[in-house]
Symmetry: C2
Subunit: 333 residues, 2 copies
């Protein structure tokens, strides 16, 4: 267990030795060893070309009734791109266009699990043209995803070799996952695979489609987002359609519901949804970007998340689960 | 990927066939197949002998200033037993006995990360007899833990064989972890190991000792709890001293701090801690119990968490990470 730590100390000693040698020649101040960058510093240093614009038409903007001091509360959700969940995403676009959610509410807040919203009366008529989809499309076997997986596997192998040359961290467990044979970030999204099909992963902030017992009963009108430890047992059992990229604190800090499953027991506890619109219908919406998961900056960021070497850390973990490598999102500078 | 699903359907068909056969003989109502129990149902059915009492002297009771409607807000923390972090736990007992935290505050709430409390002024004098501890005791090589690991490994092997006989679930990945070579629940606590030493794990609700850059600067006066996805990169870098067993919603639903690292920017945003006491000094405290992690009920519960077969689920995950198998805690009936 001290392998990583010893290496860390050794690197510092070596650098100090180099600094001492150089001062003995030039008689200048010793150069202190440069601390390793934190993941946030790697993201801040990423070149503009590593950032990908998110189209406003792929955003869902949820405005909640202002809180007691009158502050506006907005949640911005990025809808999931192909090949995953496109039928439900289409339904969601129709519901937003119909202003269907306006006046509905947040009805459930279960600690360390989910916040859920929709029509609390369960009687509001849905648009007629929503499609019905079931478990066959909870996963995808799309070849484009397979090609990306192959590329990432090569990249990981190269990195492992690099780390071995460097002194070998605890690489044997670094990409293990309890829920799949492989996980990876693909075009900005956390994805898992069993080697045959691919599915999006229930990380913090991911948005999914509530349903009843039969797998084809979720339309997209009832949505939830994760506000706790990743409930990965829901993967492949519910459709994921997006993720919160701004304002999740307006959901995660809501009072927990005291009814079964965290549903609010009294109607007055519910938080009113003023409106939900597609981003291209919202004036003055900031331009959001995500850090390309195919960029060198993201590879460095993911490696730093798995092996923290910035000054606070004494023991790099040697790995990170997919939900502990959240894809960075920013407002375009 | 459809292996588990096919088995599930097949089990249902087989049971229906059995039911039909029996009705053809006795001409009674067909017996519907009995649905698999949800993890919560397994816990509810656990015999009294599978529950372990938590001594009140091992509890830390934190009372917060009541909220705007006057409701009391209490958080109950179970302190960690040997062999882990006992020096810090000793400091915490001394701080509680000295009523040191009374009038201090919650100062930091960072979304998907931690809530942190202590003396915001950083000037309050500490009791003189606190011990100083560092990184050498962030892990333990205690033999008793090793013996338990061996027993659990045997139990897991038996379960895998059982599942294979049953039709084979996706067992190859079920106990993988990105942060260690092995994880397991030991005497009520989530533990990881690299095969040489053992350490407690940063799951949701775990309580740790805040520190500055040097690893020996945490006394236990500054504490935090996890309110998001398990930040496992902190394992072996900070001392864990307990976990919240009741009232975490009083921390996790607090407004997020808007300063760096989620610190509250204005003093009036801080939430006052009325008192922190050891449980044996608190009148009328409920008697808490945890489900023995060495019991058959816990093994069934852990298996159900890893392979949900209760009616909502169509695809058992085939595994679960250690933080998705939280140890059940209840008030003694």
């Amino acid at each position: 267990m001290t392998g990583g730590k010893r290496i860390w100390c050794q690197l510092r000693v070596n650098l100090s030795t180099v600094a001492m040698l150089s001062t003995s020649v030039v008689a200048a101040q010793p150069v202190p060893p440069k601390p390793a960058l934190a993941p946030s510093e790697i993201v801040a240093a990423a070149p503009a070309s590593d950032w990908v614009a998110i189209a406003p038409s792929d955003l869902l903007v949820m405005d909640l009734a202002p809180n007691s001091n009158g502050s506006a509360k907005r949640v911005v959700i990025q809808l999931m791109p192909p090949p995953f969940s496109q039928g439900w995403v289409g339904n969601i676009r129709k519901l937003a266009a119909a202003h269907w959610w306006d006046g509905t509410s947040i009805n459930r807040v279960q600690d360390n699990y989910v916040v859920q919203w929709g029509d609390a009366t369960e009687k509001k008529a849905l648009p007629k043209d929503l499609v019905t989809l079931g478990e066959s499309v909870y996963t995808s076997a799309d070849d484009a995803v397979a090609v990306n997986i192959a590329a990432i596997t090569v990249q990981r192998a190269a990195k492992t070799v690099g780390n071995e040359a460097n002194g070998k961290f605890d690489d044997e467990w670094r990409y293990n996952d309890s829920y799949s044979s492989n996980t990876f970030a693909n075009e900005g999204w956390p994805i898992a695979s069993d080697g045959k099909v691919y599915w999006p992963v229930h990380c913090y902030g991911m948005v999914g489609v509530g349903r009843d017992m039969p797998p084809d009963t979720g339309t997209g009108a009832e949505l939830y987002t994760v506000i706790g430890h990743a409930p990965r047992h829901l993967d492949r059992n519910i459709a994921l359609v997006g993720r919160v990229i701004s304002g999740i604190e307006n959901l995660s800090s809501l009072p927990r519901g005291t009814g079964p499953l965290g549903f609010y027991e009294k109607p007055e506890e519910r938080v009113t949804i003023t409106s939900i619109r597609l981003g291209n219908e919202v004036k003055d919406l900031p331009r959001y970007q995500y850090l390309s998961t195919e960029s060198a900056s993201f590879a460095r960021y993911a490696d730093a998340r798995a092996n923290r070497r910035d000054p606070f850390f004494i023991q790099p973990a040697g790995g990170a689960d997919i939900c502990n490598i959240p894809v960075p999102v920013r407002i375009a500078p």
